[in-house]
Symmetry: C2
Subunit: 565 residues, 2 copies
């Protein structure tokens, strides 16, 4: 395994040994380590000093269910701080199979301002011209790359959103079925890739080439125990398999925490119409795929391929966060309308959370009536065209609020909150406030804990533990869904690690790894100028009551400030 | 003298005693004191917790030349930190004559969302309905208020820019000739006023009512010495009187520091066409007013009333910063075109510096060709209409850069730099970087110092001294022009202070007062989350050479960080 270092400005490509001590890091934790060691914390995120790092998690490479995620990181142009955005698809697998421990993209764009592809196969890596791909959406990009190379390639690419430096631009990975729709969505990392004029990375590795195992017997035994736990758990064997993450619509709505009409309400009167159950039945009747795996080997299959009324695919996947931010948050009750908006975002290569939140802010400013899905589609078309209003929306909810003069803007560290209102699910509010990543449910969602989510006194510890676990999973390359299995047997992860690497780690390893990642991230943010002033929810959420619970966010600031002490 | 406290939300108006110890503060220093004591540093600047403070400087009230400026302050929606923006006109005088030491605007908008006027006369203050004024430009606002009240009123008002919460919105004051064009321009304070739904403050005080002097003989003697110095100095008796601040065009151009085409060059090939000398001759030939005083009693008269080819007024005043940012910075060489853009900004009530810089960023993004003044006017019309592109420009250069995906954005603390490129005038670069106010020449312009402006080793001390002096003048209510007189006799200010208040102060008083103001401001900014990361010029200015000097900004970070130690 080696580090692949690519400088777009000089056109150089080099393989290096992994720095001493970094073999034990992967995914999110390694991103933070790279940033601290190599990226000036005060650099312009879209300038030549920023770097973009691809690094698979520590367990990636074996097609173990839900454990092959790729982390991408850099200094975020959206938050100005550390950013790690992970995704499924096949990028992680292909990298490991190609012997790449991490890939570091450096420098500004080529001097001639041309665009490039980075092509990697077993013989090495090279930069190729990509000027013919500029401006293409991700569907056309996929087709062109497969045509140019091979049907079995892996791809990480940006769409027009990244090329145009939209702050909501992500980096998208191909899934096992050649859909370029698995996105490292958050924090504008696609704009960082765009600023360096890299359109795509192609991983050409037709055969599985799994890394060696130090103790294959132990690894396989732990794998079996893990899979059995997943197969026995109703969440991972039934609920998410049937309904996907959209199962959360009813749950969040029941708690009064589904974002509705720009976070002005916590229940949506038409929640039933956009629920996982409704979408499942509709999709099933239309011949869509209700259970779809984004990664080879995944047995949970929480994803879906959503069909329109004509049976043709409208979008893949249609997920809860998109339904929350582009559905209820806009007062939209039509799954097909949400799917069409989602499809534009996918083809542009952008984050549906921050885009949906920005449209909510635009609605607040009078650019659309809540519930008018035709107008919402027009706004997405403006995003696609790149009109000034489209650019305002594509800059994300935070900047859109500044430009449009809106106070009710749901962001932390300038990044939009996910589809859990922090006044109703206060532990997740603590996560939004204190995660070095900014407003982000994947940093530590607490809604499944059996606690009173409105009680401000018990949320900090809950959020801290959840944040450590999630940062741990993000460093292992494990999906949050895998947690349903890992959580039931604390020896599985240590046995997998010992089986693969021979390391003796304790049953606290997951949280220790997560804590290390978070502390490194906080150190980078501190050097980038972050203070406790950045660890706050928007002031209006401490003042404006959320119907129907009429809760405000009232976890004391002092507790937020002490969460990682 | 009393504090007038007005809460728009509750509709209450109350006179209070000045808090103990605050009698010795005024203007900029008092703004910082108010913010620290009364405004939560982490509050939303456009929310109900922010306050807006009007406070005349300590010398205001006697129509002493250049010494009647009004300071307005609050937490800035543009920078997120402390903001004091001062201006000429008659507001300071009228406030003092009405016995108001400071005016504090509090709370959110009225519950019925109506708009208000605050009317103040010798009998007291009251809120009146202003719904009929909503949407009016400042020219029409002036006419309506004079018609409703009295031709001799003082006015502080916002235009449509403030109503719409543009981040470039200022608060504008009437001058002695009933032009509502003297603007507390910077940092978006007009949006704060707009967020509280106050359209205007009317000061009805037809007669001069000068405050008592403790020692009238000493005060008058010091006044005479001061005036004599101004009359003898060529800058204040000739150059600024004839050419106004536009005299700086040639000087900045000579140093290679006039912003040209979005700060990509430091000399403008058509500088002659927009120079103070050219404008003077043109304006004189057309029958305009080349020497105009914005405040009663001013003998320098650095302002002007600029006439078009038909002899009718095009704008008043036409100043250097506007010429730099809306002229050379856009590649525009036609004074009439600059004047027309300026006039729109004046009528909207917005900062020409941040607006001009934002248009430069928009040009960089392809929305106009540099030099195309017709297109620039179209963009200003978009600002006036409030189109999405107009709103992007009106959000200022920093936010416009984020929305439009531009790296070459000339801001510090998100506020646009003034018309001195910091790579060519490095002392002013130090000021931009370290002033608590953000990018702002009035915080400490160093171009007149007889030093090598390109030598990075001597700029920090120069900037520090200049910043202390300027913060001192801003706390006294003195115009920077007055400094030409004060600087020649260090006893004038102490004698004026002793004559007015009876206080014994040293010849270091000016700098001590300024230092106190800056330290208070830095304390507020620290509590608002600012760190040394905010005390930096844009990274690209440390990397990108500025023709023709080919200088970069290379004052060491460590020296910037130690400037106020």
């Amino acid at each position: 395994m080696q580090v692949l270092r690519v400088n777009l400005q000089t056109g150089t490509v080099a393989y290096e040994d992994i720095p001493q001590g970094w073999q034990t890091l992967g995914g999110r934790a390694l991103v933070a380590r790279f940033l601290l060691d190599e990226v000036p914390p005060l650099c312009d995120p879209l300038g030549p000093s920023n770097k973009l790092i691809w690094t698979p998690g520590l367990l990636v490479g074996h097609m173990l269910s839900s454990c092959d995620r790729i982390s991408i990181g850099g200094k975020s142009p959206l938050t100005g701080g550390v950013k790690e955005a992970n995704a499924g698809g096949t990028t992680g697998l292909k990298m490991v199979w190609l012997g790449i421990h991490s890939l570091v993209l450096e420098g500004g764009p080529p001097d001639d301002d041309s665009w490039k592809i980075l092509y990697i196969d077993a013989d090495g890596a090279r930069l190729e011209d990509a000027n013919d791909l500029v401006g293409l959406g991700l569907q056309d990009t996929t087709a062109a790359l497969i045509d140019r190379f091979d049907p079995k390639i892996g791809i990480s690419a940006i769409g027009p959103a990244g090329e145009r430096l939209y702050m909501t631009a992500g980096i998208t990975h191909i899934d096992k079925d050649r859909n370029l729709t698995r996105i490292s969505a958050r924090g504008g990392l696609g704009a960082v890739m765009g600023s360096k004029h890299l359109k795509a990375i192609v991983f050409n590795c037709p055969r599985s080439n799994q890394p060696d195992l130090v103790d294959p017997v132990l690894f396989k035994d732990a794998s079996k125990r893990y899979i059995k736990r997943l197969q026995e758990h109703p969440q991972t064997s039934q609920i998410y398999t049937f309904y996907g993450t959209a199962a959360m619509v009813k749950m969040a709505n029941t708690f009064g925490g589904i974002p509705t009409r720009n976070f002005s309400q916590g229940q949506f009167e038409d929640a039933e119409k956009i629920s996982g159950e409704t979408i499942h039945d509709l999709n099933s009747a239309r011949g869509g795929e209700v259970s779809h795996a984004c990664m080879p080997g995944c047995i949970i299959k929480c994803s879906n391929v959503y069909a329109g009324s004509d049976g043709e695919t409208l979008v893949t996947p249609l997920e809860y966060e998109t339904i929350g931010l582009m559905g209820s948050n806009l007062g939209i009750n039509d799954p097909d309308a949400i799917a069409r908006m989602n499809d534009i975002a996918n083809d542009m290569g952008m984050d549906t959370i921050d885009t949906g939140a920005a449209i909510g802010v635009a609605a607040e400013a009078g650019y659309m009536e809540f519930g008018d899905h035709q107008r919402a589609m027009e706004l997405m078309e403006e995003v696609r065209t790149g009109t000034p209003l489209g650019r305002i929306i594509a800059s994300g909810a935070g900047y859109a609020g500044k430009t449009l003069g809106v106070e009710r803007v749901p962001v932390v560290k300038n990044q939009a909150l996910s589809a859990y209102d922090p006044r109703a699910i206060k532990g997740t509010g603590v996560t939004y406030a204190t995660s070095p990543q900014g407003g982000d449910h994947t940093s530590g969602l607490t809604i499944r804990a059996k606690v009173d989510h409105l009680d401000p006194t018990i949320q900090v510890e809950l959020s801290r533990n959840t944040q450590y676990s999630m940062a741990g999973y993000d460093s292992l390359g494990a999906c949050i869904m895998g947690g349903f299995g890992f959580a039931l047997d604390a020896t599985i992860i240590p046995d997998l690690i010992k089986g693969r690497y021979g390391w003796d780690v304790s049953t606290d390893y997951l949280k220790e790894l997560g804590r290390e990642a978070i502390l490194l991230e906080r150190e980078f943010n501190h050097k980038a100028g972050f203070t406790k002033a950045d660890d706050r929810l928007p002031e209006w959420m401490t003042r404006e009551q959320l119907p129907p619970t009429n809760a405000v966010f009232d976890v004391p600031d002092e507790e937020l400030d002490a969460i990682f002490d």
